[in-house]
């Protein structure tokens, strides 16, 4: 019997422990290769799916995967960036850690956009990158890249594994760091010789990292101060960010908001943390938020920020934002507190735990005057759009909402489609709105939607990917992957033949000089493109055909459907707070009509 077969046999024996995820795993003293340890560690970690792309530096892992038939599924994506976005979509919709496996050099650099995206949006993913053998590091070897150096400022943490004996514990640490506290991406760089060396396999059940800790419960004094501020407030307003969804705090947030009768506005990433069909909801705030949400912010006397980070797209000109408000800021990241806006009462902690602590401290409040004022604003400038026989994107989003009753996972791209998707779909469940909010990565939606679909249990919510004709082409190759896996994605293209959001800025702020935003000469026939990828392609050019197009798309259950909606190019996203302007200088659609 040769050595390889022996190792294989021992490895197969060790699989008895594979069904005990996150538990201790031993091989009984036998030696495994680094590649085998890698696979056993992922199994022990309970990884369900790996998005990957093979190459020279990780060929050993792929070979071992072929031999061992691991418990996790491997999806061969068609571009590493697509893989990272798929892992992000999977992580955001399931709350678990997404996993990516790529080779060295270009494999790693292609992941950079996805890693930066996950860093900005606090998404837990672990990216395993191959690396040239340790003795070649620094020699400009073939497909060498200083991955750790390149990704240093866009990762929560990163590891270069130099010794096979450290591999299992490093993987454990990577998942622990990615998942806990304020989540984020972790890169693990794996030199080829480490993957070939052998060591005994032991996957630790728990891990301690001395430099790493994160807040849990909130400080009781601060909570008391917060509850006093809430009691004293006449016009309280919840400002809810993505942190509330990451912490699974939607339920307790809804209870607390209803208890004190405080209206709730959410950020782009907070959509779904509070049901938008509730009368207390004022929708999204910020640059393209609702008129009434921004009015509420400018008039509130107490802003209760929950897992939000006072981003510039939310605040506009920060000096004039929420001028009358005292601010309670609940967040798990101490660096977020008083970073952009000083908090009068910061509460450091897990958003869910803090809200659970706060719930018994607050009493039901009468805010009827305040809510009445908000209703006046809601009536003054509701979210609406023209119906004049032209195909408008908002009407399509509304039709999708009505088709699903809001029970769908919507993954938007970046630009106008993202804003319409946020404004006109009514989000009622957490983790059903997924977008690239921080980095603003075009090409995010299609692969992320694919990741969502892979993470779903059978009979899960429909997955809708909303795109513009610009962004969808940036990762269109993943359509082939979705088709191969028979994922019934509903891919909507709001096709206005322009880079719409840039066009909007050019129209409003650059005297209609449409510099390099016309995509007509380079756009493909999206129906033919869909068919080439073995998907169904549908086209819709008139508003009266929206319903039949969507109905036809929902008939397809065994492959993605691409719906090419030829919308008008003149439509703009309103309301809008121009970049750098104060929130009071908001432009609304009706004001635009008067001009």
């Amino acid at each position: 019997m040769n050595i390889a077969t022996k190792v294989l046999e021992r490895a197969t024996e060790s699989r008895t422990s594979k069904n005990a995820p996150k538990g201790e795993s031993h091989t009984g003293g036998g030696l495994l290769t680094g590649a085998e340890i890698f696979i056993r560690s992922l199994e022990a970690e309970g990884v369900e799916i790996v998005f990957g792309y093979p190459g020279g530096a990780v060929i050993g892992i792929y070979d071992t995967m072929h031999r061992l038939n691991p418990t996790f599924k491997h999806v061969l994506v068609r571009h590493e960036q697509g893989g990272t976005h798929a892992a992000e979509g999977y992580a955001k919709s399931t709350g678990k850690v997404g996993t990516v496996l790529v080779t060295s050099g270009p494999g790693a650099t292609n992941c950079v956009t996805g890693i930066a995206d996950a860093y900005m949006d606090s998404i837990p993913i672990v990216v395993f990158t191959g690396q040239v053998p340790t003795k070649l590091i620094g020699n400009d070897a073939f497909q060498e890249c200083d991955t750790i150096g390149v990704t240093r400022s866009i990762t929560k943490h990163s590891f270069l594994v130099r010794d096979v004996n450290d591999l299992a514990a490093t993987i454990k640490k990577a998942y622990y760091i990615a998942r806990t506290g304020r989540p984020g991406p972790v890169v693990v760089d794996l030199p080829k010789d480490v993957l070939m060396a052998t060591a005994p396999f032991h996957y630790p059940a728990s891990i301690a990292i001395r430099g790493y800790s994160f807040a849990q419960k909130g400080n009781k004094n601060q909570l008391q101060i917060a509850s006093d501020m809430i009691r004293a407030s006449k016009k309280p307003l919840f400002y809810v960010g993505g942190g509330a969804i990451i912490a699974d705090a939607a339920e307790v947030l809804t209870r607390v908001a209803r208890r004190i009768n405080a209206p709730v506005t959410t950020t782009l990433h907070g959509l779904g943390a509070f049901p938008e069909n509730d009368s207390l909801s004022v929708g999204m705030l910020g640059m393209h938020g609702t008129w009434y949400a921004n009015k509420a912010v400018q008039n509130t006397d107490l802003l209760i920020a929950v897992g939000a980070r006072f981003d510039d797209r939310v605040t506009g000109k920060i000096e004039a934002w929420a001028p009358h408000a005292k601010i309670i800021h609940i967040d798990i990241d101490p660096a977020c507190i008083s970073k952009n806006v000083p908090a009068d009462c910061p509460i450091l902690g897990d958003v869910k735990l803090v809200l659970e602590q706060l719930e018994p401290l607050v009493e039901p409040k009468d805010t009827s005057e305040w809510l009445k004022q908000i209703d006046v604003w809601k009536a003054e400038c509701p979210m609406s759009f023209k119906s004049d026989g032209k195909l408008r994107p908002q009407e399509i989003i509304r039709a999708l909402r009505d088709k699903t009753g809001g029970h769908a996972t919507v993954v938007t791209d970046v630009g106008q489609n993202q804003m319409w998707g946020a404004q006109f779909f009514t989000y009622v469940h957490p983790r059903t709105h997924i977008t690239s909010g921080g980095l603003g990565t075009m090409g995010f939606s299609l692969p992320a939607a694919m990741g969502v679909a892979f993470g779903q249990k059978p009979g899960g919510l429909p997955v809708i990917s909303i795109n513009g004709d610009g962004g969808v082409l940036m990762n269109i190759q993943e359509l082939g992957v979705a088709a191969a896996h028979k994922l019934p994605l509903k891919v909507v293209i709001l096709n206005n033949s322009y880079l719409g959001m840039v066009r909007q800025w050019q129209e409003l702020f650059h005297e209609e000089r449409y510099s390099h935003t016309d995509l007509t000469p380079t756009n493909p026939d999206f129906v033919k493109l869909a068919e080439a990828f073995n998907c169904v392609g549908l086209r819709c050019e008139r508003p009266e055909d929206i319903q039949s197009t969507i109905d036809a798309a929902w008939e397809v259950t065994d492959r993605p459907v691409v719906m090419d909606f030829k919308v008008i190019m003149e439509e703009k996203v309103f309301p809008m707070v121009p970049s750098g302007a104060t929130t009071d200088e908001m432009i609304t659609a009706s004001a635009e009509d008067i001009n």
């Binding site: 750790i148 150096g149 240093r152 400022s153 929560k156 943490h157 990163s158 270069l160 760091i177 990292i209 001395r210 430099g211 790493y212 800790s213 994160f214 807040a215 400080n219 601060q222 920060i318 000096e319 004039a320 934002w321 001028p323 009358h324 990241d333 101490p334 660096a335 507190i337 008083s338 970073k339 806006v341 000083p342 908090a343 009068d344 009462c345 910061p346 509460i347 450091l348």
Partner: protein, 203 residues
């Protein structure tokens, strides 16, 4: 191990530092801005206990460029525990920026402890080597000057002298200032190292 720094509740923003937003709000509310209150900038000395790895040093240095913080000097050496390194960082900013620097440093996985020693009674020292062109004739005069600074001669050639001087940064500056009268060939400063005076009695 004192991990208290990670859990420290950020207290209400220091009243003496007003953000533009706070100033705007005070103006809207018709409140007076207390005279003399400004967003004043100070030099802070931070000591950071980090893991003894090259990546830890990289991450700390990188943080300053990534976040646009000012980095005036940095020095690093062994701490008591050989698996750790103590870094001394000199940075400039107002209270709000310094609070951000400390929190962002604390957020790094590789940092064990971050302390702003400027807030406490502390000792700061710097070491400096200065090489000066000096003929045999000038030697007695030069040596009488450097004696005042308790500098020592660490190297001598027929036409040069190299001095070593240790002390608080102000003393080093003064020493280098005095040497300007002579032909200075080379200056090498170590960057600051600092430690709280109370450190030994706290635990």
């Amino acid at each position: 191990m004192n991990t208290q720094t990670h859990f420290a509740q950020p207290t209400v923003v220091a009243k003496q530092t007003l953000t533009p937003q706070q100033i705007f709000r005070k103006q809207v509310a018709g409140e007076s801005l207390h005279p003399g209150v400004s967003d004043s900038v100070h030099r802070h000395v931070l000591t950071v206990l980090v893991e003894n790895t090259l990546d830890a040093l990289n991450r700390v240095a990188n943080l300053f460029s990534q976040r646009g913080f000012n980095l005036e000097s940095v020095s690093m050496g062994e701490a008591k525990d050989p698996s750790l390194r103590r870094m001394t960082i000199v940075t400039i900013g107002n209270d709000r920026i310094i609070a951000q620097v400390i929190r962002q440093l604390n957020n790094l996985i590789d940092t064990i402890e971050v302390e702003d020693v400027t807030l406490h009674d502390h000792v700061e020292r710097e070491l400096c080597l200065v090489q000066v062109r000096c003929s045999a004739l000038e030697r007695p005069v030069l040596i009488s000057v450097v004696d005042i600074f308790r500098a020592t001669v660490v190297n001598i050639t027929p036409d040069s002298l190299t001095f070593e001087v240790t002390g608080p940064p102000a003393k080093i500056n003064a020493f280098i200032g005095m040497m300007r009268d002579y032909d200075v060939l080379e200056v090498a400063r170590s960057g600051r190292v600092a430690m709280r005076r109370e450190l030994a009695f706290e635990h």
